[in-house]
Symmetry: C2
Subunit: 230 residues, 2 copies
């Protein structure tokens, strides 16, 4: 196994594998196995199968706890944004995993080392190996360094609507009461207009209007976000 990888994992993440063969397997692409049949290696695909599910659970649990009042539909969108291919490929690169994956020559020559799908699989198989070696808690801690801080910082929140985003921003430092109040409605039924204000712990933080109550609330949330993010 590449000592550089072992050192990097130790120094950056304080991760030391008990069973190094699991780590080795996580960094072995099927193309490498196919080109070295005499070595009787195992590729990382079964670990990826497992790691994918480990990631899904830990991200779900994190979102569930982090956003205690966000409805299921938005949690699902956010989770999808976090675990999708290009996100995971970026995490893998950030950990320098691309440097250590063992590829067959054909795969190497066709640029496999930079292919998002390959890097995404690699990230998941690393998680699978870490899970088998050290359990769920160790994977949770690793994700707490690589993934969760980005979620807290709002890196995936463009997937949410303004109201959810506002809730996320305001609840970053603790529970607050967010309250939308309809302050006015005008006009005939077919072109009625609604005015809404949004309050955080009783303090007015944004105003909006729209052709429905829902749109007026979204508008107020966007308005509040504009002030907050100035």
């Amino acid at each position: 196994m590449d000592n550089q990888l072992i050192n990097e994992l130790k120094e950056k993440f304080n991760i030391v594998f008990r069973d190094v063969s699991l780590l080795e397997q996580a960094f072995t692409h099927s193309s490498y196995v196919n080109e070295h049949r005499n070595l009787q290696l195992s590729d990382n695909e079964r670990l990826e199968f497992l790691g994918d599910a480990v990631l899904e659970l830990l991200v779900s649990r994190f979102l569930y706890n982090q956003f205690p009042t966000v409805p299921e539909g938005r949690l699902t969108k956010l989770r999808a944004a976090i675990v999708r291919e290009d996100s995971l490929a970026k995490f893998a690169k950030e950990c320098h995993f691309d440097r250590y994956i063992r590829l067959g020559k054909g795969e190497e020559n066709s640029g496999g080392r930079n292919r998002p799908s390959l890097l995404c699989d690699l990230f998941e198989s690393f998680l699978g190996a870490l899970y088998l070696d050290q359990g769920l808690k160790a994977v949770h801690e690793f994700l707490g360094k690589i993934v969760f801080p980005k979620v807290k910082a709002g890196a995936f929140s463009h997937e949410m609507d303004h109201k959810t985003r506002l809730q996320e921003v305001l609840q970053r430092s603790g529970d607050v009461l967010i309250d939308y109040r309809l302050v006015k409605e005008e006009g005939p039924a077919h072109e009625r207009l609604f005015w809404t204000e949004v309050f955080c712990d009783g303090q007015l933080i944004g105003k909006g209007h729209g052709k429905s109550k829902k749109l007026a609330e979204q508008d107020a949330a966007a308005n509040a976000l504009g002030h907050l993010e100035e």
Copy 2:
């Protein structure tokens, strides 16, 4: 909360919730919440979001351990068959969960209590509640009563091909070496025919032939299964 449900869970599965409000939430459909706004209830959708991921991990881990040599592609197919809507709806019915879900009147009248999507969500939200209340191990034990025995008995194996199915059957009682040997090939290139034999720990258990090595192996596996399952 319905005492009948509490009793059934205790008697059938030896499950006693510490926080009964979680169990209550798992059995509360959004249609019920909408019809009883004054009660300020929470529906089961966020628990379903979590339970879905808990199920995914536990089924993945079970399959990973149960089928130590089955490739990732087939594990993925098998997992999908186990966690799909109609499978989960059946599990929910088997546990009598359909009797206890709280529905709004509209949902009840339109047959919601028997709708697979609703029962599937209910099964997942129950798992989410159990996970929050008692951790992963408790959910694993529950699935060990309701789901895993069926997988071991081959209830989902029609999702696999004959070779995978054969492997599964033979490895049920421990690791064995399964070996396909090409014993003959005949005919011109464009209509060549292959004969294969399959051995289990060195003993011939099936014969097959086909227009490719792959098809001949599948045929031999099906032949072996025929003998084994007689």
